[in-house]
């Protein structure tokens, strides 16, 4: 008691700053003790949760396998299947169990195809999971909407296309990306029509995801990309350029040639790449006219094109560039020059004493 009184007197008599310091000390002690308890709790909880998830996953997998084997041709849903649906319906009401069930369904959906996959989709309807996904589409939080769209995509729910399309220009890129993947995965090339209304940027990452989804499709009938090549959204133009290259869009050559004069430099560079890939000689002739006034990156892209589309008549033009300051242009020009006129190329060794230049010539001579 004496110590307590002594401490109390000490604090009362101490300067204000000391009082504040001790108050803060007590505050930290009061915070640190629960933090330690919390830390112990979350570590235990995470371990328990891991075990619990494994148990539920096993349980639901067994339900689903029984469900798939319990089907018969006479009834849409057999009695045994109805029992399983009722059991799963109970689980669906709890968010924790619902999450695990969906992950098991998705895993199974990805591993199977044909009628079995249709059965899984039926199960998704009958357990009421669809209602939860639709409810998510109208949620305020972006990540809930994105999860909803992803789920609808995973279970191939085509009927809600209009509701999903409402998010085409959502401020969050994750929602937009899920919407785009939903459209392409469920409606294939037709789904790409969201590009007509897209006002927000389509990132390179998004484009890779979409092209990956398209690549997996069996149908390779692509619509014309011309309207997207004319888009006022530059990122749509970039995507259309990739489509034109991957799907050999020779019908789009006129539009591609127009892009050589696009206001965006990167569009011009990418167009050069696509035209080179499609072997459009006309592009080379257009670019030759004003290449001197174009940016360095355009020049480099042009010379890469020349490596592919060179002709004997280009020799005179090329000679001007074999001593270009830029390494890539110089190497490209020399490479083509060697192919056009080997004799003159070899004589270059004796015309120029610059060791750097000679090193390039020697390298190209041997490779």
């Amino acid at each position: 008691m004496n110590i307590y009184n002594y401490l109390l007197d000490y604090i009362n008599d101490a300067a204000l700053i000391i009082q504040v310091a001790w108050a803060m000390t007590i505050l930290f002690i009061v915070i640190i003790i629960p933090l330690i308890i919390y830390l112990k709790y979350i570590r235990t909880h995470l371990r328990t949760q891991e075990r619990s998830i494994a148990v539920y996953e096993k349980k639901y997998e067994s339900y689903l396998i029984n469900y798939l084997y319990a089907g018969n041709e006479d009834e849409e849903i057999s009695k045994e299947q109805q029992v399983i649906i009722n059991q799963l319906k109970n689980s669906v009401q709890e968010p924790y169990k619902r999450k695990i069930l969906i992950s098991v369904l998705v895993k199974l959906q990805n591993e199977i195809s044909g009628e079995t996959a249709d059965s899984i989709q039926q199960l998704y309807f009958h357990t009421g999971l669809l209602q939860y996904a639709l409810y998510r589409l109208r949620h305020k939080k972006w990540y809930v909407i994105a999860k909803g769209i992803r789920e609808l995509k995973q279970f191939h729910i085509r009927e809600v296309q209009d509701e999903v399309m409402l998010h085409i220009n959502h401020p969050r890129r994750e929602v937009r990306k899920e919407m785009q993947l939903y459209m392409v995965n469920l409606f294939y090339f037709e789904g790409l029509h969201f590009l007509d209304q897209l006002e927000t940027p389509l990132s390179e990452w998004d484009q890779i995801q979409l092209l990956g989804a398209l690549e997996r499709l069996q149908s390779q009938n692509i619509f014309s990309v011309n309207s997207w090549l004319r888009s006022s959204n530059d990122s749509v133009v970039f995507f259309a350029l990739k489509l034109a290259k991957i799907y050999n869009q020779f019908d789009s050559v006129d539009e591609l040639l127009k892009l050589l004069h696009h206001s965006n430099e990167q569009v011009r560079i990418d167009s050069i790449g696509v035209l080179s890939y499609l072997d459009v000689l006309e592009a080379k002739e257009i670019l030759k006219l004003d290449i001197a006034h174009r940016s360095l990156d355009e020049k480099i892209a042009f010379f890469k094109m020349m490596e592919n589309l060179y002709q004997k008549t280009d020799e005179e033009f090329l000679v001007k560039y074999i001593h270009d300051e830029n390494f890539e242009i110089k190497v490209s020009a020399l490479k083509i020059f060697k192919k056009l006129n080997k004799e003159k190329f070899e004589s270059l060794k004796f015309e120029n004493a610059d060791p750097y230049f000679l090193r390039i010539v020697n390298f190209l001579e041997n490779n």
Partner: protein, 476 residues
């Protein structure tokens, strides 16, 4: 009169110390709060990412992994194997043997069936010349591997050679002994491809400590918590720095440093600014500051991104000699970079870089050990002259200690709620214990190393890199 003036000076001194300490504490709390927001946001966003598409896509951009090696014979074969095991589709690995005096090159030639090849180098950055030349494998399984053997010029020079050699759009500069997880490249490249409203010039990742971890065939097999306090202390320090510090700076777009152990750069911009500076021991931080400064000068919107996932594991010093030598070098690197780029500091032309990042690094990274050291000296003088007010001293020492413990516990909880890397039972109590012990087991050495770094910077200019003795990671 004189004693009054002296008293005013002493009082002013006290107030400055007090204000500095309070500002440091407030800044840590603000950064921790911002980190929490950014971490939650990142985890949410990442739950929608499918990395498989980028792995197999032919249009994914090319990346060169550049790894300088100097006398790494002990682990070089395993390390290269680890670098070659990435799941990314479009990458190559460039190992720069920087004039090693051991048999590193011979080992690589034998194991990877290397032959010398003719290679046209675009020498955009001057470097030391080639020694034995450039090698590629005759075995198609190692077609992504390029070995460059050059005269010794230091880490920065070796990295610059890698920049010249690389034909990729992006370069991942890493320490050769680092263990990269298989999905590291796709995670690091994501911000470059995803952000559309500005140019991403560089991305840094979290570095984790691999001491005591089990490695099998170049892959991380089992994560263990080391037994030595020095190693445990560094784990806690890294968690604090990466999860509570850099995460916040990333959100503020004020990240000033990307660890030299693993960083991804836009090659064109890295070359445009002249590559790595050979005259500093903090070349990693210096390059980022220079690239940022350049982007500010050309008035182009940019970002230095940060990936909090544990992508890169590295061996940390396990004895105090090497530990202090490493921290000494870090201190000198920071001083050199801040001095070299002093025109950026407090310059509104450089926006956040000049008005926030630079001042923060100057006051709370560069000056912190100096101020702490002066404080300890002053404390000693007060004890000797018997002028110490023990009630003040005692209250504030306890308060500072509890704040440190509190901050460490917050970092550990963040780790548990996000990445939960140390899953094994019993590790929790070690983590809590080290939160209480770290101020005594590692901090005094960090302070000593920082002060030695300051001394060496001003009075021992010849000092360059310290030595790191590799033991190699435990193999299963």
């Amino acid at each position: 009169m004189i004693s009054t003036v002296a008293q005013i000076i002493i009082d002013l001194f006290h107030y400055l110390f007090f204000i500095y300490s309070i500002s440091a504490i407030i800044s840590y709390l603000i950064l921790a709060y911002i980190s929490a927001i950014e971490t939650i946001e990142y985890k949410r966003k990442n739950s929608f990412v499918n990395y498989k598409e980028i792995m197999s896509s032919n249009i994914s951009p090319s990346i060169s992994i550049i790894a300088p090696a100097y006398n790494e014979s002990l682990n070089i074969v395993e390390n290269v194997r680890s670098l070659l095991s990435s799941h990314y589709v479009n990458y190559d690995v460039i190992i720069i043997n920087d004039g090693s005096k051991d048999d590193s090159l011979q080992k690589l030639i034998e194991v990877y069936d290397l032959i010398e090849v003719d290679y046209l180098i675009n020498e955009q950055i001057p470097t030391m010349p080639l020694r034995a030349g450039i090698f590629k494998s005759t075995n198609p399984a190692f077609e992504k591997l390029i070995i460059v053997d050059k005269e010794n010029g230091g880490k920065a020079d070796a990295l610059n050679m890698g920049l010249n050699i690389s034909k990729s759009k992006y370069v991942a500069c890493i320490d050769v002994d680092c263990l990269l997880l298989e999905d590291s490249l796709q995670k690091m490249i994501k911000p470059f491809l995803e952000i559309t409203d500005r140019t991403v010039i560089a991305a840094g990742g979290v570095i984790r400590i691999s001491n005591s971890c089990i490695v099998k065939e170049g892959k991380l097999h089992d994560v263990n918590f080391p037994k030595k306090l020095i190693e445990q202390g560094q784990i806690l320090e890294y968690i604090r720095a990466f999860l509570l510090g850099r995460m916040a700076w990333s959100r503020l777009n004020g990240l000033l440093v990307i660890s030299g152990a693993f960083g991804l750069f836009d090659k064109k911009i890295a070359i445009q600014v002249g590559g790595y500076d050979k005259n500093t021991v903090g070349e990693d931080m210096e390059l980022v500051v220079r690239m940022r400064g350049y982007m500010e000068e050309i008035k182009q919107k940019y970002k230095v991104a940060y990936i909090p996932d544990p992508l890169c594991w590295t061996e940390a010093p396990d004895n105090y000699k090497i530990f202090t030598s490493q921290r000494n070098r870090w201190t000198r690197g920071t001083i050199e970079t801040l001095r070299k780029h002093r025109k950026i500091g407090f310059n509104p032309k450089y926006n956040i870089l000049g008005m926030l990042s630079y001042p923060y690094w100057l006051f709370f990274e560069r000056m912190a050990p100096v101020i702490e050291f002066v404080g300890i000296l002053y404390f000693g003088i007060l004890i000797i002259t018997d002028k110490i007010k023990w009630d003040y001293a005692f209250a504030f020492i306890i308060l500072a200690y509890l704040f440190t413990v509190f901050f460490s516990l917050i970092a550990i909880i963040t780790e548990e709620l996000t990445y939960h890397q140390y899953k094994k039972k019993g590790t929790g109590i070690h983590l809590i214990t080290i939160a209480f012990l770290e101020p005594f087991v590692n901090h005094p050495f960090i302070l000593y190393a920082a002060m030695r770094g300051n001394f060496d910077y001003y009075f021992n200019k010849k000092k360059k890199w310290g030595e790191m003795t590799r033991k190699g990671m435990a193999k299963a």
